[in-house]
């Protein structure tokens, strides 16, 4: 079968910097073609060129075998090419149906045909197993549901080519299953799909062909069959990969953190747990189980009731500053919106949390500069220029900067929420090693993650949350995917089985 959309030898340069070097890529109807590579390998640029957001500097695009040049993304959309972004393109104040039909509203005479749009929106969402009400404003929807609305929007436009930029980064395992089923259905209907993800198991499940990029260059394109996850990872990184997870170090006996009866109104009920020195404690659960809310309640970012003791001392509730001073810090899952000031310099980001360590009256700029130099080397942050803005760093490097910022406060207990979301495998490994090193140095770490392999690979003990309360605790060999999922969904509670 011939390709709908094909890129031949595309190159892209931003100013003097070339980010793509002669990439070939083709999409065939009824095929899922995965594009994988580390952060900064050129995946986003390739997708943007295919989706009409960027023009290639050299090389050509062929649509149905004929050369095309999209003036903008709208022309690409008119040709049936739709891109679903990692950062959603939804108007938050508008409702689900208004977003789905934005720019191609159905009319009856001079007026909007709201009824027809609502019905079609409901149909589209039903096809995705999504039960969001079309009249809900986007800002009231959960992130996974927003993802579904994005996809419904593409479906409503009868996409021939669908470009998906890490669609599952924010989804749970169950939601991912629904999405993958939907992709299979679209594929059967003859849609060509470009799929990217850092989760290689998904790639192995749904891709027909896989293209690997490294440092902006095309490395290989081959059938997914017979291309193991391990081989994919090694091709991406360009070297042999040893074990992803470092060996676990046993925790000490003394308890450093005690949480008792913590309740975050409407989100978490009566959660109690302890954390020991040198321990890596995993927190697993479905999205919406209340893990992030519990952690935010503990460090004072959300109004909460209950007791939080650090080294036996009760800390002042609802004060991020008090928690920090007690040596307890939280590293957010949302690095772009809550973690880093994207429009500010690296230094200003690095020292913001621990600014009082850089002088009481005047900020010591020399000390700040030294801190940046140390952070860049300690955390292996790849910067082009020390004066660059945090927003210009790649996702993995942003995460490292956020880690460096958090560690500058010299915490005793670090809560890391989704430590490797949207991060390539090489950086992931570095972050895992860092977490293990922290624990070995006698610090205590809580890892909240939706990736079960991550929780299992890192933690000595796992607390499972479901529907706003702690549904169970597992340790040692009892930590398995099956055991975690059963508790997260409340299966064991119903049957009365115990750990």
């Amino acid at each position: 079968m011939t390709a709908i959309l094909e890129a031949r030898g595309i190159t892209r340069a931003f100013g003097p910097i070339r980010v793509l070097h002669g990439v070939d890529f083709s999409l065939i109807p009824g095929e899922v073609h995965a594009l994988i590579g580390e952060n900064g390998a050129g995946k986003s640029t390739t997708m943007k060129i295919l989706g009409g957001y960027l023009a290639p500097t050299e090389g050509e695009l062929l649509l149905d075998g004929r050369p095309v040049r999209f003036a903008d993304q709208r022309e690409a959309e008119d040709a049936g090419i739709l891109m679903i972004h990692q950062e959603f393109n939804l108007a938050l104040q508008l409702t689900v149906e208004e977003n789905i039909f934005l720019g191609r509203e159905k009319m009856r005479g001079p007026f909007l045909d709201k009824k027809a749009m609502r019905e079609e929106a409901r149909d589209l969402l039903a096809r995705l197993d999504c039960h969001a009400d079309p009249r809900t404003p986007i800002r009231d929807l959960s992130v996974p549901n927003r993802q579904m609305v994005e996809i419904a929007r593409a479906l409503g436009r009868n996409a021939r080519v669908l470009i998906m930029d890490e669609p599952t980064a924010v989804l749970t395992a169950r939601e991912t299953d629904v999405l993958l089923e939907q992709i299979a259905r679209l594929k059967a209907q003859g849609t060509a799909i470009l799929y990217t993800s850092h989760k290689l198991d998904e790639i192995a499940r749904i891709a027909d062909r896989v293209t690997v990029l490294r440092d902006g260059a095309h490395i290989t394109t081959r059938p997914a069959e017979g291309f193991s996850e391990h081989a994919m990872a090694e091709t991406m990184v360009g070297r042999e990969l040893s074990d992803l997870f470092p060996p676990k170090v046993p925790a000490r006996d003394d308890v450093v953190l005690q949480v008792e009866g913590l309740t975050v109104p409407g989100r978490v009920r009566d959660a109690s747990f302890t954390l020991r020195r040198g321990e890596v404690l995993g927190f697993a659960g479905l999205v919406g189980a209340g893990r992030t809310e519990l952690m935010e309640g503990i460090v004072g970012l959300r109004p909460a009731t209950g007791l939080v003791r650090v080294n036996g001392q009760t800390i002042k509730p609802n004060s991020v500053r008090a928690a920090r001073e007690a040596g307890l810090v939280y590293l957010t899952e949302d690095r772009k919106e809550k973690g880093l000031l994207l429009t500010k310099s690296l230094t200003e980001n690095l020292t913001l949390l621990a600014l009082d360590r850089f002088g009481r009256i005047f900020i010591d700029k020399k000390a700040e500069d030294t801190a940046l130099t140390n952070a860049i080397s300690d955390f292996d942050i790849r910067v082009n220029d020390r004066d660059m803005l945090a927003g210009s760093l790649s996702g993995g490097n942003q995460q490292k900067l956020l880690l460096a910022k958090t560690m500058l406060a010299e915490p005793q207990i670090v809560i890391i929420d989704e430590p490797t979301r949207g991060i390539d495998i090489g950086t992931k490994q570095q972050i895992y090693e860092f977490i293990a090193a922290l624990a070995a140095a006698g610090k205590s770490v809580i890892v909240v993650s939706s990736e079960l392999t991550e929780v299992i690979g890192l933690a000595d003990r796992v607390v499972v949350m479901g529907r706003g309360h702690i549904a169970g605790e597992l340790s040692g060999d009892a930590i398995t995917e099956d055991a975690i999922l059963r508790r997260a969904m409340g299966v064991d509670e119903l049957t009365g089985a115990s750990a």
């Binding site: 003097p16 957010t332 973690g339």
Partner: protein
């Protein structure tokens, strides 16, 4: 600013920075050259003192406004607030003459009243915005109406005048100075220098910018968001008090039309100076240049008869818009 031999990879941002940074400075220099060419008295001691002393009121307020805007806020009430503070100060001083007599204690008491009134007004704005979480635009729009009307009411629709003897005693605070530099200019310079230091070198300045850039990030970084936001409005309120202290000895009176449109002039000066209206980045020295640009335009139009002084507002308006266009070019080049 510091290293001109930047590494090649630092290209776009570095290259765009000079225009973005130097724009207001170049505009100021151009105005000075133009003024000197049009009128030989322009650079005279009397004219320079006059321009600078008159810019001091707006200038002192604009320094405070820089912090509010950098923190992602706005304050529309400062003009009315100045009128109200002037009214309260004059009434307090008149009422205190029988007890304190005419002299330094009376003037100090008046200054104290002005600073406290400014502090209270700033705290009220800050409280409603930071704690009650009402939009800054709404709170200060309301406060603008309230203070304007309170002043008119206090003056009973007319003018509040300071007692003649007290006024004669107080006048030198506007008209005198040390080493030939008028007091308003000295105070403005001090406020500007302290403001610049606070913005660039202190945690408060850094926290303001982080708050304006992204409040969530600031909150997650243990910045006491409410306190910092409140602090910007309190600082501005106090500075409005300082400006009023310098203003009252000039005319010795206050009425419902005192300080009209000062808020817009102050905001315009902040924006011309390169502070982002949406917050996240501010520079006090830029604001000082913005204030000087605005008052020089006024002065040149009055001295030279090429363009009618009535067109002052038009020219100032065009400059504000141009300044924002310039900012955007600087930004998009990033």
């Amino acid at each position: 600013m510091t290293d001109t031999t930047a590494a090649p990879q630092a290209t776009s941002r570095r290259r765009s920075l000079p225009l973005h940074v130097l724009g207001p400075v170049l505009a100021l220099i151009a105005l000075i050259v133009l003024g000197a060419m049009l009128n030989s008295n322009f650079l005279s001691y009397a004219n320079v003192t006059n321009v600078l002393a008159r810019s001091a009121f707006i200038g002192i307020i604009a320094v405070g406004m820089t912090f509010v805007i950098t923190g992602g806020g706005i304050d529309l009430s400062v003009g009315s607030m100045a009128a109200f503070i002037a009214g309260v100060m004059i009434m307090a001083m008149n009422a205190l003459i029988p007890t304190l007599g005419i002299g330094v204690p009376l003037v100090l008491a008046g200054m104290g009243v002005a600073l406290l009134t400014g502090l209270a007004a700033g705290m009220l704005n800050g409280f409603l915005i930071a704690k009650v979480r009402i939009e800054a635009f709404i709170v200060t729009l309301g406060a603008m109406g309230v203070y304007r009307s309170l002043t008119t009411w206090l003056a009973d629709g007319g003018t509040l005048s300071l007692d003649f003897d007290a006024r004669t005693f107080y006048r030198p605070v506007y008209y005198d100075g040390i080493l030939g530099i008028a007091w308003p200019i000295i105070v403005f310079a001090l406020v500007a220098i302290l403001g610049e230091l606070a913005m660039r070198k202190t945690p408060f300045g850094r926290h303001c910018a982080s708050l304006g850039a992204n409040e969530q990030v600031a909150k997650y970084s243990a910045v006491k968001v409410d306190r910092v936001r409140m602090g910007t409005y309190v600082l501005l309120g106090v500075l409005v008090g300082v400006a009023t202290i310098m203003y009252v000895p000039r005319l010795g009176s206050a009425s419902g039309s005192t300080g009209v449109l000062w808020e817009l002039e102050a905001i315009a000066a902040v924006i011309i100076g390169g502070t982002l209206l949406k917050g996240g980045f501010g520079r006090v020295w830029g604001t000082v240049i913005g204030v000087l640009i605005l008052s020089l335009i006024d002065n040149i139009l009055n001295l030279a008869s090429i363009v009618s002084p009535y067109l002052n507002g038009t020219i100032q308006g065009v400059i504000v818009i141009l300044a924002v266009v310039l900012q955007r070019q600087g930004k998009s080049a990033e």
